[in-house]
Structures are given as structure tokens and as C-alpha cells.
């Protein structure tokens, strides 16, 4: 291939990478908090859907994607409250509750979408969203111009949100207590800190960010909702957390990697002359996850108390 073609090919892939990575970034960053505090939420897909639907409907009725985003966060917080109540206060099994969240998330959003929007199909398609903000001059840079300086606000925000997340986790007293809670909750208890409350807070952060990740799909990346729009991204985010070693920046870069695969997959198909079945490209992120497990050959250093309810003695 012509080198110029390859360069433009890569530039376009890079631009798509960041956009496609964004929902993973938000969702997995939140899950890092949740798991660092010892709570595994496999219901991310359901929470993302609820975020996506809430953002969509509120934006539709208010005309403001900012309100939509705020509402999605509120929806995420509500999910988090319920999740934490069940798994932290009632010490219910986290896998069960997560699985239930996925069922309810899909069922509830689909049911409500039909109940509320069934008569408004046509109009439902038009509403404002976060549109790309071009940064003057920089966006004209060759190669990286589009990738870095021609995105929407929610995409631009990701490194800053991750930075903030890493700061909170590693540089604040709260973060210290979160990291301790997932590892050795009894110590946290003995230090006079409320284990339950810390887990509540972490789960709330996790669900709020998952909802933001879902909202991104309906008010930033596209401006529409459809049933099951998250298309399995919540599950990918779970894998991202593991491969990213439970760290915010790890989650960020692994999200970008998965975003890259996703973009490459869509892109390679369009290039004539490449006849790999598209299913193979689709399978790449999942295969990669398995390969990572095999090649690291080391027990993933998951928080030791992950998934174990804490019972003060």
C-alpha cells in the first residue's frame, strides 16, 4: 500500500479509537473504584443501559444534553444505592445482584422506551447532543489533528476524569481508605473508618461513571437510544479493569487499546482486498483478554477481599 494511504488510514483509526474507547474509560474507571473497595459489579451492562436511557429521555424532553448527562448520573447513583444496599448492607451475593441488574437494565429501559416513546418515533430522533468541538489550528495538524483535537466534550474529558480518579485513589485520605477496604476491611474497621460507607461510596462512584459511559452513547457519540444500544460494552469494561490491573491509568490505556481494536475492526473491513472474516476481528478483544491471562502467568493481583461481604465481628 501507498505509505500516504497507510498514514491516513491510521490517522482515521486513531480518531475513532478515542471515541470508541470513551464509554469503556468511564465505565471501567468507575469499576476500578468499586473493585478496589471490594465490590464486584458484573451488572455494568445494565447500569450503562439505564444511564443511556435516562440521558436520552431527559435530553429529549429538556433539549439539553447537560441535563441528560446529569440525569444519567442520578440514575447511576440510584442503581448504585440499590446495588450497595443489597451487597453491602444486606451482604447479598454480588454476582447474583449483578446478573439481576443486567436483566432489569435491559428489560426496564426497553419497556419504558416503548411506553414513553412508542408514539414519537420520528421526533425522538432529533435532539441536541454534545457535538464535536474543533480546537482551532490544532485540529488541522496532520495525522493527529483529528484524533486529538476534533472530538466532543465527553471525549476530551476522559484523561482529566482519569487523572482526577487517580488523584482521588492515590492522593487522598478517601482513596487510601478505598484501597485498604478492598484489601483488608477489618483493618479499616479497626482504624475507625466505616467500611460499609466506603463501599457505598465506591459503588456509587462505579455506577455513576458506568451510567455516564452509557449516556455517552446516547448524548455524545450518537444522539439516539435503541434497545440494547450498549451492545455488550459493560462486559468489556469488566475485562478492561482486570487487564488494566485495577488502576485508573491502566483502565484508561486498556480502554484505548480495546477502542483501537474496535476501530481497526470496522476499518479493516472497509479496505478492499482484505478478506479476513469480520467475525475474526470482532473476536480480537475477547481473544486478547484470554491471551493476557495466559501470558501474564501470574495470579492477577486482584484486591484480596473482592466479592467478599464484610461482617464486622
Amino acid at each position: 500500500m501507498d505509505p500516504l494511504v497507510i498514514v491516513s488510514f491510521l490517522a482515521a483509526v486513531l480518531a475513532a479509537t478515542w471515541r470508541l474507547a470513551t464509554p469503556f474509560i468511564y465505565t471501567s474507571l468507575g469499576e476500578v473504584f468499586s473493585e478496589r473497595a471490594g465490590v464486584l459489579n458484573i451488572g455494568l451492562e445494565g447500569v450503562m443501559l439505564i444511564g443511556a436511557f435516562t440521558a436520552f429521555s431527559i435530553t429529549f424532553f429538556t433539549g439539553s444534553p447537560v441535563w441528560g448527562l446529569a440525569a444519567a448520573m442520578a440514575g447511576g447513583l440510584t442503581c448504585g444505592l440499590l446495588f450497595a444496599f443489597l451487597t453491602v448492607s444486606l451482604k447479598a451475593n454480588q454476582i447474583v445482584v449483578g446478573a439481576a441488574f443486567n436483566l432489569v437494565g435491559l428489560g426496564l429501559t426497553s419497556f419504558l422506551y416503548r411506553s414513553i416513546f412508542s408514539g414519537r418515533m420520528e421526533t425522538a430522533r432529533e435532539y441536541a447532543s454534545f457535538s464535536p468541538l474543533e480546537i482551532p489550528l490544532l485540529s488541522r495538524l496532520p495525522f493527529f489533528g483529528e484524533a486529538l483535537f476534533q472530538q466532543n466534550l465527553m471525549v476530551y474529558a476522559t484523561p482529566f476524569v482519569v487523572l482526577a480518579g487517580a488523584f482521588v485513589l492515590y492522593r487522598t485520605a478517601f482513596g487510601l481508605s478505598v484501597r485498604s477496604t478492598g484489601e483488608h476491611p477489618r483493618t479499616v474497621d479497626a482504624a475507625g473508618l466505616p467500611v460499609g460507607l466506603i463501599r457505598y461510596a465506591s459503588v456509587l462512584i462505579g455506577c455513576a461513571l458506568a451510567a455516564v459511559g452509557g449516556a455517552y452513547l446516547t448524548v455524545a457519540h450518537t444522539n439516539q437510544f435503541n434497545e440494547g444500544i450498549t451492545s455488550g460494552r459493560g462486559f468489556i469494561a469488566l475485562a478492561v479493569v482486570v487487564i488494566g490491573r485495577w488502576s485508573p491509568w491502566g483502565a484508561f490505556f486498556i480502554s484505548l487499546l480495546f477502542g483501537f481494536f474496535y476501530a481497526l475492526q470496522l476499518r479493516l473491513q472497509a479496505v478492499s482486498g482484505i478478506t479476513i472474516p469480520y467475525q475474526f476481528l470482532q473476536a480480537l478483544p475477547y481473544l486478547l483478554t484470554l491471551v493476557v491471562f495466559v501470558t501474564l502467568r501470574k495470579r492477577a493481583d486482584a484486591p484480596s477481599a473482592l466479592g467478599v461481604p464484610y461482617k464486622s465481628s
Binding site: A173, L176, G192, L193
Partner: protein, 510 residues
Amino acid sequence: MSETILKLDKIVKTFPGTVANRGISLEIRKGEIHCLLGENGAGKTVLMSIVYGLHQADSGHIFYQGEPIDLRSPKDAIKRGIGMVHQHFMLVPNLTVAENIILGQYPPWKVLRRMDQVERRIEKLSQKFGLKIDPKAPVHRLSVGEQQRVEILKALYHGVDLLILDEPTAVLTPQESSGLLRFLKEMAGHGLTVIFITHKLDEVMQVSDRVTVLRDGRKVETVDTSEANPRILAKLMVGREVFLEQPSKKGTQGEEVLSVRDLSVDDERRLPAVKGVTFSVRSGEIVGIAGVSGNGQSELALALAGLSPTAEGEIEFCGEVAHNISPRKLSRLGFAHVPEDRHKMGIVLPFTVAENCILHDFDNHPYARNGFLQSKTITAHANDLAQRYDVRLSGVEQRIGELSGGNQQKIVMARELHRRPRLLLVNEPTRGIDIGATEFVRRQIAAQRDAGAAVLLISSDLEELFALSDRLLIFFEGRIVGETPARKELIEEIGLMMAGKSMESFSAEK
């Protein structure tokens, strides 16, 4: 004397199924070292956890420096200058010393901007009190003794007036222990009040100003240490005269049953834990392994039991090569093992007593036929064991988790001993059980020896080792640093060896 710093008034605390504290009243004076003495299960730790805010009393009042206080969490206690060093350390292994020390110190929104300042302050503190520690080291890299230093530093960093220590010497050598006791005395001299939970009479005599004896959730008495002696205290603690002199030690020793040559074993982190030990055990003798816990005894036990691979060396059991063979095969050769932590390994808590009785034999005739469990046979077997070993239970279909620690241990002993083993490995057999069960368990161990079994006894309780063993091997950092007859008069030498002085250097010093 001086003023009262802490006053407890009729503290009652119940847990589902048990009453831990039945109305305990107590006064602690400022600047004293006050021992809380009692058997396991007497309610010492629970009472102090209430003072530290970990538990809340069902009824009763706490007065601190004259004021009634309401402690809802350790935070309240820490704020008032009450600190506690727990028996099981409360440290987060993947955090650094400094991070562990400031955990819970600041409101959640506080930005931990200058960790180096915190670290410097810790360094200063550690120099001032002679508790050497690197504040930047992650806790999981520290030895047990160092971890305890971190715990004490944590309390000092918080600026405590009242320090509670829960059995702090359990993990220390006698020399380290006396160092700690000296340190506490010095601190008390500076005005620190210390509450010292223990069941070791020597320590009480050595360190305390006054001692309160608890039994069965009640206060028996508070006495000035100067007016007490160990015999009186033991009587108060147990409620009757105790004759700690144990069954006779006359075994007829026979052939070599276990022989270990140049054995090395790695721990879970793949670091060498046992480094080339050689010893043997004959039938009809009890060999005790002494040492501060964490010096390779656990890894040795696991390797002997076929539960972890050996790195180098040989184990021979009844003339057969026995390293890296399965627990199953060992068991068939006549090996029985009472593991260190029965909750982790010895029993399956949610299973019934009957199910626990067949842990090794679940697929052996007659408990299983054609792959199916024979519930009648199993029940009958369990009933038989429970009766013979005096286990208190409502029925063998009761879940074992509902039994007391002593009765759980009796089930483990019963299961291991009824097979008439040729070699019995017992690891911390009486840890955490009441004195009645302790006596029973010790008698059973001695009876095995008398019946001709070879017994290897690992214990961090020197009293127990003296009472049962014929000879002692002393472990330090994965090596056998000495072998002595199990005579109490040698405690000083043994102590020094437990601290790493080998026999040669020891005799050289002398």
C-alpha cells in the same frame, strides 16, 4: 494513688448464642500497666474492643477521664487518645508503613500531599522510641516483629494516652517479649496508661502494676501484682486448683518412623522458608518444635503433610520415600495431621459433624460404596467418635460451625486419632480452646505416644512443649538452631535460640 483514667461500669455484651461480658466493672489508673488475665473465651478481648469502640456494649457505661463517653466506632476512641494493638495485626499488606499509620487519620477529602512529611515524622517517632522501621516499606515485606512495631508506632503517632495490647507477646521470642515489656514500663513511666491482655502468668508478674482476672465473662478480682503470685492468679483464672504438671513422659522409644534429611521448602511467595533441616522422630516419642511462629514451622508441617511441594531434600516415612506424595497416600501409610488453623483447614464449617468426620475417608469403604456415600454408616461412625472423645453436641447432623472451638478441635483429634496413626503431626493443638479441652487434647496426644505412635508437636506455647515433649528442636528462620531436652530449666537458652543464637555461639558466649 493516682487518678482513674478509665472506668467501666457493668458492661454487658452478648453475641448470638453467647454472653461475652456479664456486667464487668473495672477501673484503670493513669500511668499504670494493668493486666487483663483470663483464659481464652473469658471475655478479655471483647471487653477491650468495647473500650476501643469496635463493639458497642448492650448495657453499662464507660467513663474516660471522669466523663461518660459513648464510643460508636474506633474513630471516637482514637480521638480521645485510646489506641489498641490487636492480636491479629490490623495492617493492610499492600500499603506502606506510613500509609498504614495515617489510615483513618484524616477526613476523606483530605489531600495527602506531603507523604514525605508524614514519613519524616514517623522516622522521628521511631528513633525517639527505639522502634526501628522504614516508613516507606510495604507492610507485607516486614517480619512479624516489625509489623508489631508498626502497630505500636501507629498508636504513638495518634498520640494515645491509653494503649491496649491484646496478647502482644504471642508472636515474639522471649527476648523480644522482655524488650517489649521493658519498653512498656518505660512508656508508663512517661505517663502512658497500658492495658495488657494476656493469659501468661509470668508476663503479668513481670510487667503489671495491677491485674484484673476475668473468667467466663465476669470479673473475678482486681489485685495489686505485688500482692499476687502465679499460683493465686492461676487459681483465680481457672476457678480451681490447676496442676499444670502433665501426664508422665515415659515412652518406650522404638524404631525411626519419620526421617527428614536436608529438607528445604518454599513459602507461598516462593521464598525459602525451610532451609535444609534434618531430624527424625522415633515411635513412642514426642518431638516438640519450638520457635516464634513464622520461622518456617508452618511450611515444614505443610511439606510433611504433602500439602506443599518440597524444594530440596528427602522425607522418609516408615521406610518409604514421602516427599511430594499426596496427602491421600500419606494417610494410607498411617500419617495423621492436626493442622494449625482448624477453620482454614481442619474442618469444613458449613458441613455437619458427621460430614466432617469422614474428611479423609469420604470415598473409602465403608463410608462410600460404588461411589455413593453411606449415610447410615457415616452417622454411626460420627456418633461413635463423638461419644468416645466426649464432644458436646446436640447431634451429629449439627453443623460443626455451631460447636465451640474446643469441641471442634476434639472432632479433629477424634478423626485423626481413631485411625491409630504411626505418625501424628500436631500443630498448635490447643490454640484458642478452653482449658478443659486443652487438658483433654494434651492427654490424647500423650496417649498416642504411649501407644507407640511417633508424634511431632509444633507449638508456640513453650509451656505446652515442656509439658508434652521428650525433646525439643528449636526453629529460627527456617533452620534448626538447636536441640535440647524439654526441660523447663533450659528456658533461657531456648529463648536465646529462638532469637537466632545457635547452640554453638550460645555456648561460646557462655
